[in-house]
């Protein structure tokens, strides 16, 4: 059974755009938007447009493991229709469990074909973490474990994109005690560049921006120390938050639905993780730039940060202190320790006066004698 449907010469992105019925204007709009998103100058618009016009579309294999598909959902809802129509529709042609038309053996064969035909050229996108517990039985597709599929697909990939917090840092399913041993991609794949695009989900435009960057410049975008593209993850949500002036002014929401909440004060004291979270939510926003969590009156939960699930409670600044029960945070522990210390010192002071009585009296006597010996 042969399923050789992949043409020898891949069409360019622009050809696909035209075929879908978009106008040149739509295309250029899309290009300008993407150029701005990936943080390039105005003058780079031509470069991006040219790349999308001339370069054949990059073959992509998009794998789904332990995830909820919110990354894919976010991607197809990014603000410009071309993102979904071209970048996703076309790239997903090769292989993606969620959206491909083929199923069963045909689908598996399509993946094998892409891997063979575009050896060393295709981009591997991974959505979801890989469970390595119990020999990987928690997530198996077509009789193979996630790890086997990942290793096979990663071997000849040009670059790997880890979509979302699952693939980047394990997300919720790796929360303690991590029963399936959910593992992020970068810990399993060695010797390949892994671009982490964390977030639960990541912003659709950010995802599109990463792909456009790869297509335009033929290399991976500049990454920070944690492997995230600097263009989107170098600023904290806090730094670009429109409520930041209230933070600096010292005006905070004390509880949800209080007077301060109505005034739109800063959500710092009700647990906003914006000051510790690196993402572009404050600038790009969500759903066609409509809003983002803080604008909707809820603090940032830090979904794009590693271990956000275990690292603190959603509605508090401080977090629980490991090993001392869920109600104890660092300050409760500190206060108890302070109390114990004070009690111990008080005990020590009392004991000093008992045990060192002789010594203290000697020093005192000596002083007193000298005082009396001195003439007034």
């Amino acid at each position: 059974m042969s399923n050789e449907i992949i043409p020898t010469q891949q069409p360019t992105y622009y050809e696909e755009v035209q075929r879908k019925g978009y106008s040149r204007r739509d295309f250029l709009q899309f290009v300008s938007m993407m150029t701005a998103f990936i943080g390039l100058e105005n003058t780079a618009i031509g470069q991006v447009a040219k790349a999308l016009e001339t370069k054949p579309r990059v073959p992509v294999i998009w794998l789904h493991f332990q995830e909820c598909t919110c990354c894919s959902e976010s991607f197809i809802r990014s603000s410009h229709p071309i993102v979904a129509d071209i970048l996703l529709d076309k790239i997903s042609l090769d292989y993606t469990e969620t959206l491909m038309a083929a199923s069963g053996f045909q689908a598996e064969e399509a993946m094998q074909n892409t891997m063979k035909k575009y050896k060393g050229e295709y981009i591997l996108c991974v959505e979801g973490s890989v469970p390595t517990g119990a020999d990987g039985v928690y997530c198996m597709i077509g009789g193979k474990t996630s790890l086997q599929i990942l290793e096979e697909a990663a071997e000849n990939a040009k670059a790997i994109i880890a979509w979302g917090s699952c693939a980047s840092n394990g997300c919720v399913q790796s929360a303690k005690p991590n029963p399936t041993n959910a593992t992020p991609i970068h810990k399993l794949v060695k010797g390949k560049p892994v671009i982490k695009v964390p977030g639960c989900p990541p912003i659709g435009e950010v995802m599109a921006g990463v792909i456009v960057h790869l297509v335009t410049f033929d290399r991976i975008p500049e990454l920070d120390r944690l492997g995230r593209p600097k263009a989107f993850y170098s600023k904290r949500v806090h730094d670009t938050c429109y409520r930041r002036p209230f933070y600096d002014a010292g005006l905070y929401v004390e509880s949800f639905d209080d007077e301060n909440a109505k005034k739109g004060y800063c959500l710092y004291k009700v647990g906003c993780k914006g000051p510790s979270t690196y993402n572009a939510c404050g600038v790009m926003k969500w759903n066609n730039g409509t809003s983002f969590p803080i604008q909707s009156g809820h603090g940032c939960i830090g979904c794009s940060e590693e271990n956000f699930w275990d690292n603190g409670r959603l509605y508090e600044r401080g977090s629980s202190f490991a090993g001392f029960g869920i109600e104890a945070n660092a300050d409760t522990f500190g206060k108890v320790a302070l109390g114990v210390t004070a009690a111990a010192l008080a005990g020590h002071a009392v004991m000093t006066n008992v045990r060192k009585k002789k010594l203290i009296r000697e020093v005192e006597e000596e002083g007193k004698q000298n005082e009396q010996a001195l003439k007034s």
Binding site: L226, R236, S276, T277, A330, L338, H348, M351, L359
Partner: protein
């Protein structure tokens, strides 16, 4: 009435803490106090009310500014003290902080016996840092290091100067800012507990020994019994060649 004076000690004045050490001590104390107070405010700001518009207020901004200024003072002061550990007198020498000899460990035991268990002992405890104190200060230097690393690590993404940016690897090592700021917050409690015990023990030594422990950080001198001095019974925890 000569017998009356049998117990009277003749004390010898010893210059223990040099001026730079005293400057370091008080600058450090001030910086730590400022850092703890502002740090608590930053972690859990007070619900201050005002009729002013937000644009006219900068409460958190000022508190953070004080925290950052104090952190720079603390950091450079710390570096200076490390330097002084190599060029200062024998009591300031770095060897008095690290238990590297049997002598050092033996004195730690002596201090434990006399000051904590309050047993009687005839041994002489060092006039500078005693061995136990020296070792605890060694631990505080590690705490200083942790606070500098995590603090400047958190500051790295906000700062424009190259110095804080040198610390940007720290949050990356802990997997992000959330964990880093928690470590920063936990470590602060070490400073609070240390300060309480430290101040208590200064009172304790002054009270029990009457050798000018408390004022030594002002004038720099402590006092030692004449016979101890004459018999060369007094030592530092570790030997220093000078």
């Amino acid at each position: 009435m000569k017998t009356k004076y049998l117990h009277v000690h003749r004390l010898r004045r010893v210059y223990v803490w040099e001026l730079p050490v005293r400057y370091y001590h008080w600058l450090n104390a001030l910086a730590i106090l400022a850092l703890i107070v502002t740090g608590f405010f930053i972690a859990d700001p007070l619900a201050l009310q005002s009729k002013d518009e937000a644009a006219m207020r900068f409460t958190m901004g000022w508190v953070r500014l004080i925290h950052f200024i104090a952190s720079y003072i603390f950091f450079f002061n710390f570096l200076f003290r490390l330097y002084w550990g190599f060029v200062g007198n024998k009591y300031a020498n770095w060897r008095q902080f690290i238990p590297t000899s049997r002598k050092f460990i033996k004195e730690m035991w002596t201090v434990f016996k006399i000051d904590i268990l309050m047993l009687r002992g005839k041994e002489h405890i060092s006039i500078g840092h005693n061995a136990m104190a020296g070792f605890i200060y060694f631990l505080t230097f590690w705490a200083f290091l942790i606070q500098c690393l995590t603090g400047f690590g958190l500051y790295a993404s906000m700062g424009t100067w190259w110095l804080p940016k040198l610390f940007s690897w720290v949050p990356a090592m802990f997997g992000g800012d959330i964990m880093t700021r928690q470590i920063h917050h936990w470590a602060m409690w070490f400073f609070i507990l240390f300060a309480v015990i430290h101040v208590y023990l200064v009172f304790y030594h002054d009270y029990v020994e009457g050798r000018g422990e408390m004022s030594s950080m002002g004038g720099g001198w402590k006092f030692i019994e004449e016979d101890v001095f004459q018999n060369e019974e007094h030592h530092t925890p570790n030997k220093v060649k000078q």
